[in-house]
């Protein structure tokens, strides 16, 4: 007696279809799983046996062999519990085989027969929708997968419910509650730092990477966190992309599905695999989890050199490519990078109040840990210093500055989309060109530095709703250039 149930395994951010075949034959009672299954799949045997019995079905006292096809594909995860149980039940005639036609089943089983969600439910939903199949899974995942258009989802709470046939189909997606609270911290809560706030607005408008340099306790972290609130909500396609990555990584995707920009702040002890993705099975890293949002790297030079250098190519291309023996996996990674660092190992170089105890050689060594190519990807560099105590004490929050700034960002982004696309250099006004030429000669700006400066100036012009880049825009952008000769 044989039966086949369709399922899938996750590779990258995609669900690859897998057929679960069960063969129940007479012989010594064994329960074996073949087909390159990892430990989690092998353990399914015990969960399935217990769950089937707990749900009131019989587990066959016979030779049960489950094959996962295609055999060369490595399968991992606990999502095969449900299809294996269904295949065994179908092969033993306890449920009619007809009811599993056109259905893809994914879900983990508890010993009590309950069906639980597994990482990557969104990926399974997208594949099922594309291949025009019904998706049978845990009912707890229903409010995640309903963002996928044209998906027919059948949610199960436990496998005992399958006795009554396939569960009801859910068609209408629920309205998602958009978090109306303004994100924390509000710009209005931050005393002083007017220049840094302006930088955040520019970064939010143009998607520029920002590097804050300053002594400890000057507010770099708080400023970086405030950037998220300035970004517009995720649009429909972005929600699905970001939600998919969160889902595959096994993180709660509800916030991003509701439109909240992801903000990721990995600690500097993060490994290369943790930062850009990797491991077995491959899992998206922090860089991809921050896709469409903000990646904040505090204590930038303290990150491992390998981790920092691994950031270079994904930052340029907006995608992480992991090459494995079986092929390349691509995780999207379009982020706004905000990095913060101390000016020197002790942190107090240039601080008016404290004395820096670092030998001069340590300063340049500290900065060189990041490396020129990565620094070249930081469009805006800004020195952030401790705010005068008098300003801190007098500061009183009046209104939400973040919401005000966000509406300005929205306007500028809309303007940037509406203006005719032209080369960075062709939209320069003659006066701006002269100023840039003067500055480039005097400050010995490299070609890369000039390009970066032009990009920032273009964004500043967008914020002024100006289709050409004027002298004032170049002048402002000059203040955000990197410190080349440190």
């Amino acid at each position: 007696m044989q039966a086949t149930v369709a399922s899938a395994t996750i590779l990258g951010v995609e669900a690859i279809p897998v057929e679960v075949q069960a063969d129940v034959s007479s012989g010594l009672p064994v329960f074996g799983i073949v087909g390159l299954a990892d430990t989690a799949v092998q353990e399914a045997r015990d969960r399935v046996r217990a769950a089937v019995r707990a749900a009131g079905f019989q587990f066959p006292n016979a030779r049960v062999i489950v094959n996962l096809a295609p055999a060369p594909l490595r399968k991992h995860g606990t999502g095969f519990d449900l299809p294996i149980a269904l295949a065994v039940l179908s092969a033993t005639g306890q449920i009619p085989p007809a009811c599993l036609g056109g259905v893809t089943a994914v879900g983990e089983l508890g010993l009590d027969g309950a069906v639980r969600a597994v990482p990557g439910m969104l990926a399974h939903a997208i594949t099922a929708s594309r291949e025009d199949r019904d998706l049978l899974g845990p009912s707890s995942a229903a409010d995640v997968v309903d963002i996928v258009p044209r998906l027919r989802y059948r949610g199960l709470t436990g496998i005992s419910a399958i006795r009554a046939g396939l569960p009801e189909m859910r068609t209408a997606p629920r309205a998602r509650s958009v978090d109306a609270r303004p994100p924390e911290p509000d710009l209005g809560d931050i005393a002083g730092h007017e220049g840094a706030k302006r930088c955040l607005e520019i970064a939010a408008t143009g998607g520029h990477n920002v590097l804050f340099v300053g002594p400890p306790g000057s507010g770099k972290t708080m400023l970086a966190r405030a950037l998220c609130g300035l970004l517009p909500e995720l649009d429909e396609a972005e929600r699905l992309q970001s939600g998919l990555i969160h889902s595959v990584a096994g993180l709660d995707p509800h916030d991003v599905l509701a439109g909240k920009r992801p903000f990721r702040a990995p600690h500097h002890t993060c490994t290369v695999a943790g930062l850009v993705g990797g491991g077995t099975p491959p899992r998206p890293g922090e860089l991809s989890l921050a896709h469409n949002g903000v990646l904040f790297l505090d204590e930038f030079p303290e990150f491992g050199p390998g981790a920092l250098q691994a950031l270079r190519q994904p930052l340029e291309e907006g995608v992480v490519t992991l090459v494995r023996a079986l092929g390349a996996i691509r995780y999207p990674a379009q982020v706004t990078l905000v990095a913060a660092m101390n000016p020197c190992p002790c942190g107090y170089s240039g601080d008016p109040a404290r004395h820096c105890s670092c030998p001069p050689a340590a300063l340049s060594r500290y900065a060189s840990r990041i490396g020129g190519p990565l620094l070249d990807r930081m469009d805006i560099t800004l020195r952030v210093d401790r705010v005068d105590p008098g300003i801190l004490i007098d500061h009183a929050r009046t209104a939400s500055c973040t919401l005000e700034a966000r509406s300005r960002v929205d306007e500028a982004r809309a303007f940037a989309r509406s203006r005719p696309v032209s080369g960075l250099r062709t939209s320069l006004e003659p006066g701006a060109r002269l100023l840039l030429e003067d500055a480039a000669r005097r400050m010995h700006l490299s070609g890369r530095a000039v390009t970066r400066l032009l990009r920032v100036a273009r964004t500043i012009a967008d914020m002024d709703a100006s289709s050409t880049v004027a002298e004032a825009h170049i002048a402002e952008a000059l203040g955000y250039r990197a410190w080349e000769n440190r």
Binding site: G192, H193, E194, G195, K197, R198, V213, P343, S349, G350, D351, L382, R383, D385, D388, I391, P430, L434, L435, L436, D438, A439, R441, R442, M443, E471, A472, H473, I474, A475, E476, A477, L478, G479, W483, R486
Partner: protein, 280 residues
């Protein structure tokens, strides 16, 4: 020919004053184009047989100065002279050619295109009457007019011996600054300009040095901006961070940032490694 002709005599109010003050001013200047273009400027002269290095230097310095409102005066000869006029025209700047033949005569022929543009947009002058054909002596004589019209003479590239030297001599006689672009010690085309430097000419190796030599920072016209002056005064007293500066002057951070950037681009202030700005 559409360009208008003009004749100015010594003593005429339109006669260039700086030229009148030289030891041997021409009695009559015949010209084509705009007589008001005969303002004092920078003479850029160099070898006819210019190297690519000489042409690049000419283009850089003449173009840079012309873009900042300095009139470029030269002799329309092939090589450096022609390049200087072309660079000035490209920048939309003012430029004057002084010829050793009638101002309506296309000589040298290879400069005819540049001369035509200058007759229309700038000025071509000579002490030779209209229609007079070029003579060797006239070209040597005209060098004193080039030097006389300018307040400084920049020698870009000159071999040894070179006609460019007569321009430099005339400049010294008229009390003009002589600037020279140094070249390789192995280059025969730069032997003359290197010797000028040894004899006391100001070496020009960078646009900022040219700006200093011409005192361009004060010449340059910038629109009145009270914030700009306030920023400069504040930074002269004490280096400040942009945030503190904006607060001290009561201006918003965007305006402060733009003013700082513009002042820094002009070399008036500098950014310190600790993020403060101070006078350069």
């Amino acid at each position: 020919m559409t360009a208008s002709r003009f004749v100015v005599r010594l003593g005429d109010p339109r006669y260039p004053r700086q030229l009148a003050e030289t030891p041997d001013p021409p009695r009559v200047l015949y010209g084509m184009g705009d007589p008001n273009a005969l303002v004092s400027g920078l003479a850029v002269v160099g070898a006819r047989r210019a190297t690519p290095y000489g042409l690049r230097c000419t283009r850089l310095f003449a173009g840079w100065a012309a873009g900042r409102g300095v009139s470029i005066i030269s002799g329309a000869a092939i090589g450096c002279d022609r390049e200087a006029h072309a660079a000035a025209l490209e920048q939309g700047g003012s430029t004057v050619a002084v010829l050793g033949c009638g101002p309506d005569v296309d000589y040298p022929r290879r400069s005819a295109d540049v001369l035509a543009r200058m007759r229309a947009e700038a000025a071509v002058v000579s002490e030779c009457a209209f229609g007079q054909q070029p003579t060797r002596w006239a070209f040597v004589r005209r060098n004193r007019i080039i030097a006389g019209l300018a307040y400084a003479v920049l020698v870009v590239e000159a071999g040894l011996p070179s006609g460019t030297f007569s321009t430099a001599d005339a400049a010294l006689e008229a009390g003009r600054d002589v600037l020279a672009v140094p070249g390789s010690v192995f280059s025969p085309e730069s032997r003359g300009s290197n010797r000028l430097i040894r004899q006391g000419a100001t070496p020009i190796t960078d646009v900022s040095e040219l700006a200093a030599a011409l005192d361009l920072e004060s010449v340059r016209v910038t629109p009145d901006d009270p914030a700009r002056d306030g920023v400069l005064r504040a930074l002269t007293a004490d280096p400040l961070r942009p945030d503190d500066l904006a607060r001290a002057l009561g201006i918003d951070i965007v305006h402060a940032g733009r003013t700082l950037g513009a002042l820094e681009a002009q070399g008036l202030i500098a950014r310190y490694p600790d993020g403060r700005y101070g006078v350069a």
